[in-house]
């Protein structure tokens, strides 16, 4: 490994404003978002280039066109000293490297914490600045344990960048990007990495039927494989509705719900979708009181719209319920009554129990909605399922903590089109907002995938630990992705100027510092590398050894 070339030196700055660096190389060699390293008095500072500005020693040197008035060589010499580029660096991490071997203060027995930590001081004036090497990137991003996943490479030099899967699942996360920025392929890669790492089970709510058996890329017309095709042993496919298929493929099992699975709270969560009235909770409460918690839905469905015995009106009169309210609820619930995947009684084992059992045992499940693509289907099914998951994981966690039982398998629920369930109106009513806010301690987190992060409730967004974002055009979306993060003003421009395809910005808890990267391509090579991970690790180790020896 050759020593990295210096690209400039520190000329000023502060912890609030960041560092100002005068470039000694042409500006075109440095890009916004580049990962730079500044070494100063036994400390190594890691930072991001957040701005480049053209400066001159005196404005007249840049304003007057002197070329032609003197020879090209003299003009070049003059420009080299009077015109320059100033680079703004957002320092994020610092690392104690200790004195050099030749330093008289060097103590071979000294114990020193050399892990990168948030920046708390500044390098000295004129400290040299260089682009990060592969070793630096590895030092910062590669987890110490074997739970790192290479999500992509740095944009300038192509050095691999890892995310720590262990940290990624500890808090809810989000993947954002405008349509066509490769969000769903990026999600597939991350899910593949997560499944491969065996850190967590994953439940994917697949609205567009693309995660289990893949789809045709609109850009290349090449089929992009699904997770069930490549990771059969660890991923189960499930389709909503009896005998449903997923893009022509037979799923491992299907999901059919019993009437008794539906609770009044599930209906209340559909208030917006079904345009329910304010009287609905009272009517639902009367129904439960009248028929019982397991039978209320079926019994209500079996009532008739007319007059007389067995009618809604008759039931309302007998139970002191407003007749108009009962009739209104009945008519609005008719959309739910007609859903094919709701049955009075299942003949076989419950599909929900099956899903939960798979997840508890570390398998991942992809629930495809098949032909049921309405918001009603999505809201109802996801709510019922997550409610039951939440109950089960809470029970298991309490057992684990109170009675020394088995630790629950960490679970990540991947949610596409998340704004439908987590918008300002819905967030307070769905189980998802509770998961985002509180379920971390019960080993359940969300992975939100969306193209309009500004539509997601602020309180949920603020709970997101790791955020991975592709290009976003809308200012409000950019602001939403960066909400609650330090240095967001500096990162805003970086996010807006990402290449629309393949470039993403990593932020938050799962990565030690924000960094724009070129994401891996979701192609045959990706799967080859994923499925031969052990072999790759050995190669990585060999490369690392070579780097170290070359350095010495």
């Amino acid at each position: 490994m050759t020593p990295a070339e210096n690209i400039g030196f520190v000329i000023g700055g502060s912890l609030k404003e960041g560092l100002f660096v005068r470039l000694t190389v042409p500006a075109e060699r440095i890009q916004e978002g580049a990962f730079v390293v500044i070494e100063s008095n036994g400390l190594k500072f890691y930072g991001l280039v957040v701005n480049l500005s053209l400066k001159s020693y005196d404005p007249r040197y840049s304003q007057d066109l002197i070329a032609g008035r003197m020879s090209d060589k003299i003009t070049t010499l003059l420009h080299n000293q009077t015109l320059f580029t100033e680079m703004e660096v957002l320092p994020v991490l610092m690392q104690n490297t200790g004195p050099e071997l030749e330093d008289p203060n060097y103590d071979p027995n000294a114990v020193m914490d050399k892990s990168p930590m948030p920046v708390k001081t500044l390098p000295i004036h004129q400290a040299p600045v260089r682009l990060a090497t592969e070793f630096d990137i590895s030092e910062v991003f590669k987890p110490k344990e074997k739970n790192g996943f290479v999500i992509g490479t740095t944009r300038e030099q192509g050095h691999p960048v890892h995310i720590d899967m262990d940290k990624f699942i500890q808090r809810s996360s989000g993947i954002f990007g405008a349509t066509g920025t490769g969000k769903s392929y990026l999600t597939r890669m991350i899910l593949a990495g997560l499944i491969q790492s065996k850190q967590a089970a994953v439940l994917v709510f697949d609205m567009h039927n693309e995660y289990a058996y893949g789809d045709i890329s609109p850009d290349t017309d090449i089929k992009a494989p699904g997770l069930c095709e490549k990771m059969k042993k660890r991923v189960k496919s499930c389709a909503l509705g009896a005998s449903a298929k997923i893009a022509g493929n037979q799923p491992d099992f299907d999901l059919v719900l019993e009437y008794s699975d539906i609770l009044p709270s599930d209906i209340e969560m559909l208030t917006r979708e079904l345009n329910l009235r304010e009287t609905t909770p009272a009517t639902l409460s009367a129904l439960v009181q009248s028929f019982g918690i397991n039978k209320w839905f079926e019994s209500f469905k079996n009532l008739t719209m007319g007059e007389g015995e067995g009618s809604v009106v008759d039931w309302a009169r007998n139970n002191n319920v407003n007749e108009a309210a009962a009739l209104s609820l009945y008519s609005k619930l008719e959309r739910v009554f007609r859903l094919n995947y709701l049955v009075p009684k299942l003949t076989g084992p419950s599909s929900i129990v099956k899903i939960i059992d798979y997840l508890k045992n570390g398998y991942s499940v992809i629930l495809s909605f098949g032909e049921y693509e309405t918001d009603l289907d999505y809201l109802l099914v996801t709510n019922i399922l997550t409610r039951k998951i939440r109950e089960e994981w809470e029970r298991m966690t309490n057992e684990y903590r109170n009675q020394g039982g088995v630790k629950p398998t960490p679970l990540v629920i991947a949610l596409e089109e998340a704004h439908k369930l987590l918008n300002r109106e819905m967030a307070g009513q769905t189980t998802f907002s509770t998961i985002a806010r509180e379920m971390r301690k019960y080993f359940v987190t969300l992975l939100i995938i969306d193209q309009r992060p500004s539509q997601i409730y602020d309180e949920v967004m603020s709970q997101l630990g790791t955020r991975i974002s592709g290009w976003l055009g809308d200012d409000e979306d950019i602001a939403a992705v960066l909400s609650g993060l330090s240095g967001r003003d500096s990162l805003r421009g970086m996010l807006a100027r990402l290449q629309p395809k393949e470039e993403v910005l990593l932020l938050g808890y799962g990565v030690p510092m924000p960094i724009p990267i070129r994401s891996r391509r979701y192609d045959a090579q990706f799967w080859q590398e994923m499925l031969n991970e052990d072999e790759l690790s050995a190669t990585d180790k060999q490369k690392f050894r070579e780097m170290i020896f070359d350095d010495f």
């Binding site: 005196d58 040197y61 008035r69 003197m70 020879s71 060589k73 003299i74 010499l77 080299n80 000293q81």
Partner: protein, 213 residues
């Protein structure tokens, strides 16, 4: 006459400069900007280096009479020029000195005495002095007041570049101009005037004179 020959004597001096009376019997006046040396006659005194910043040719009473004549013969004219009553006067700016074999770009510790001899520098002396250190002597040139500093610098760099190139020292001119830019970049107008003068001197950055277009 060789480059090393004496060409005059000190008439007056101070710590920054001196005035020299030129021996008109010599064949050529040292040109403006050329480097000279003054071995101070005191024992243990340094040898002072300087640049010719001015050449003054004044009239004497006899020349006024000659100038009013209708016809001046060639012999009379040559005699009047060679055997002057009032010498040609050169002004020398001190730029450093040599003491015990060590070059310094500081002003000399004491000025030369009157009637001390003054010599033109050889290429080797020019190369040794201008290659030493980091162009510290240029600061003296930039503060000269009796002539435009750009003109003086252009003349000096032109002479020194040739000496450096003759000694296979490439890149000296570029470093010298860089130093001038570094020292003068706060003063846009003066720097451009200096660079303009250097440009007009047709000095090649490789040490050779650029071909005239």
């Amino acid at each position: 006459m060789t480059d090393t020959s004496m060409f005059g004597r000190i008439l007056s001096s101070n710590i920054r400069e001196c005035v020299v009376g030129y021996r008109t019997s010599e064949s050529a006046i040292p040109p403006f900007g050329s480097m000279v040396r003054i071995p101070v006659s005191h024992a243990q005194q340094p040898e002072i280096y300087g640049l010719v910043t001015d050449i003054q040719i004044e009239e004497d009473g006899f020349l006024r009479q000659l100038a009013t004549n209708d016809q001046v013969s060639e012999e009379v004219m040559l005699d009047a020029r060679a055997n002057r009553n009032v010498p040609v006067v050169l002004r020398i700016l001190f730029i450093g000195y040599l003491e015990n074999g060590n070059i310094s770009h500081l002003l000399p510790p004491c000025p030369p005495l009157t009637l001390d001899n003054i010599y033109k520098c050889t290429n080797a002396e020019i190369t040794a002095f201008t290659s030493f250190g980091n162009f510290g002597y240029i600061r003296h040139i930039l503060k000269v007041t009796n002539v435009p500093p750009g003109e003086l610098l252009a003349a000096h760099i032109s002479q020194a570049a040739k000496a450096q190139f003759a000694d296979n020292h490439f890149g000296w001119t570029e470093r010298a101009i860089n130093e001038v830019i570094y020292l003068m970049r706060d003063n846009y107008a003066d720097l451009l005037a200096i660079l303009g003068a250097i440009g007009d001197a047709d000095i090649s950055l490789d040490g050779e004179e650029e071909e005239q277009e």
